[in-house]
Symmetry: C2
Subunit: 464 residues, 2 copies
Amino acid sequence: MNTQVEMSNMENFFNPSAVVVIGASNADFNLGATICKILKEDIAYPGQVFAVNRGGEAVHGAQGFKSLRDIEDPVDLAVIITPAAVVPGFVRDCGEKGIRNIVIESSGFSEQGDVGQRLQAEINESARHHRMRIIGPNCLGILDNHNRFCCLYGANQLVRKTMKKPGTVSYVIQSGGVGGLVVERLMEDLLGVNKMVCIGNKSDVDESDFIDYFDTDNTKVIGLYLENVQHGNKLMAAARRTKKPILAFKSGRSEAGSAAAMSHTAGMANNDAVFEGACRQAGIIRLQSAEELHSLPKMFTEMPLLPGKRIAVFTNSGAFGSIGADLLAETDLVMAGFSGETREKLSRLPGVFNAENPVDIGPALPQIYLQIYDILLSDNNVDGLLHIVGMWRDYVADVMSELTELCRRHRKPAALFSFNAMARVQAARADKNLPLFSTLEEAVRALVVSHQQFRYLNKKETVS
Amino acid sequence: MNTQVEMSNMENFFNPSAVVVIGASNADFNLGATICKILKEDIAYPGQVFAVNRGGEAVHGAQGFKSLRDIEDPVDLAVIITPAAVVPGFVRDCGEKGIRNIVIESSGFSEQGDVGQRLQAEINESARHHRMRIIGPNCLGILDNHNRFCCLYGANQLVRKTMKKPGTVSYVIQSGGVGGLVVERLMEDLLGVNKMVCIGNKSDVDESDFIDYFDTDNTKVIGLYLENVQHGNKLMAAARRTKKPILAFKSGRSEAGSAAAMSHTAGMANNDAVFEGACRQAGIIRLQSAEELHSLPKMFTEMPLLPGKRIAVFTNSGAFGSIGADLLAETDLVMAGFSGETREKLSRLPGVFNAENPVDIGPALPQIYLQIYDILLSDNNVDGLLHIVGMWRDYVADVMSELTELCRRHRKPAALFSFNAMARVQAARADKNLPLFSTLEEAVRALVVSHQQFRYLNKKETVS
């Protein structure tokens, strides 16, 4: 594989200088029109936009043509959103015009039986012949918040909002619905989306190609939602090439679930145990829910990796100390046993109810919090913190802010949970840039996956 | 047990006509003062409030006395929030004045070793002698949103807010922190709190007494957070007396967790398997997280109980149909197999991608949604719905509103999840009174616990 050529080819999906939307018109409910609108009106995409439709009419300011052949300017990306039957013809036209990157958003291919499969075969033939790279078919397309490019249809309002908060997490998503969930909920969380690709049937470009691409760009964490894996070895190889954390959620674990996935994006059911094994070997962190796609990345961007299993629990609610200990007992992490020095220092501090793990404090001043953090993070028996503190005073958010600094200095992470209203949690994320988790279960999971990534990278370095 | 006497005694905890706060003063950081303030200034409690302190000074408008003996009016509830050492003396004074209901919020009793246990023994002696009922010690007290009574210390802001939304869920909580989580997050959810009691060390009145009491009042769902169970048979008997759903979360499942709980509220560690068995036999629904205390009750107040195991999944995202099927496969519920008639009717509707279970639709008009609901709920092979629909248009919230009506008519429940931002979900709850769950996992759990309650009540009726 000539990686350089491949990568420049991939770049055109995210940062094209001219794009044509084939099938965009001014008819009612035309989906292609929503893409012209987003590019020309909603997000100020800096490149050229053309529309191809029967009448050759302009669409939301995108210059209109009856045929690709009539466009004189060079075009580096085509988005096709027409009935399935005419897609193969347009793909050939693209090849002849020299367009090497195509997103086919139309459905009606392998996910819909024999006729669809024949259409798919025709497209594959053209793609091979012209060395084109294709995303889709049966997909929602691409969002790039940094390059300000987007060809997701019908998502204009959402995209306008999310572009205001470009981030460092990039996603490959085999479903529009899951993509919507991730983007909407991430906006209420700490981070923003960098790039998101909805790959649908993935007849050509798949999750592995994007893992390779995201390894080269400004992405910090890679999220995957998969319904099937067609090329397991390719996925494992790509995953092994990157040191960036890859978080993957896969549906179709059960028989009924995989039957449903089959009718959705046409993939063969995968044996779940095989996928599980592949993830373990290639250092892919397998997620337990779609929610984890947006909730967990902040642990990687805001905190050092968890270098060991021994966790100190710190709380201002005795109950949550106990619940936190219960949750840790269900993982491969353990409650840290403090050094004598730590216990002695803690017991001398006012407001400390329990100088053992979990450390439980009553109403206390900010400097007491900071002293405790320093004591705990300095203890060689402690690898990281589970921090369960209700924001009963405004300064609690400030001390958590200082805690994140301390964590970076000590190279030990803290997973933060506050037992407050979500509105308050969201405000603390926005105002103080705090990686606060929404539930205690999420915070514990964050420690687990952080240590999983640490172990994987460590082993990798030892081996290589 | 003379239940009538006991109940009228319990009523004084929630609806006293005169209350004295022993230990409330105008000193800095005085906790009793926050209780006087809440009653006199924040929530317009209609009864009389007195304060007892060394100087006999008035506190936030509560008339002050040096001693209980100086209060001439009758008092039906005393709240004691003083250092532990002087609590037994005040309890005796209460007995002599004829006060039969006491809340001891002070800590420093059985949870803190020998000295504390001796103080506790003195209190128990007075309580027996004067037939007093005691909540606590080491507790946060009582909140009653309907009677507008509250003696939680330091929670003024929160209580002012929650009183605006009195509800039908009543809680017994062995921790202030968990109580805070439940109250704050419930405010962002559909329901409101009816009553909440934080019972601390529960030296006298315990969760079982409140289950009996909540069985007689306007409570619809009972929530428990427990760190220990001291009287297992009493709890089982009380649970068996009510038909109201009881949702219980218990910490101290693990060794480390139960050690932490011990230092918090002084209870002996319980064998987790024993508690599990007791719950099963007495129809107590055991929760998997503290979050479920606020997320699950709406399934009981807004929907009929799930009468069988066969679930129809309905979605406008193929991916979530598959994920929903996966989640159901992990429960004792099953994917319904539709009747031929249902499949035929569904396949005739425009916009239906999949007429099998999960039913997957594309962009469709409201009347199509309603037709599908009617078809699915009318199928004798379907006991309930898992409804996973993104609110891509405003009318989706309206059709969900009509769905809840249809559910009541068909006596089959739907668990609703929308893959949108939480702000949007919260708005739909508030504006349309929709019992929307925050995650798909919660929605599936709601179906599971709904059927659990159905089976329990059914068995009960068969036996009796």
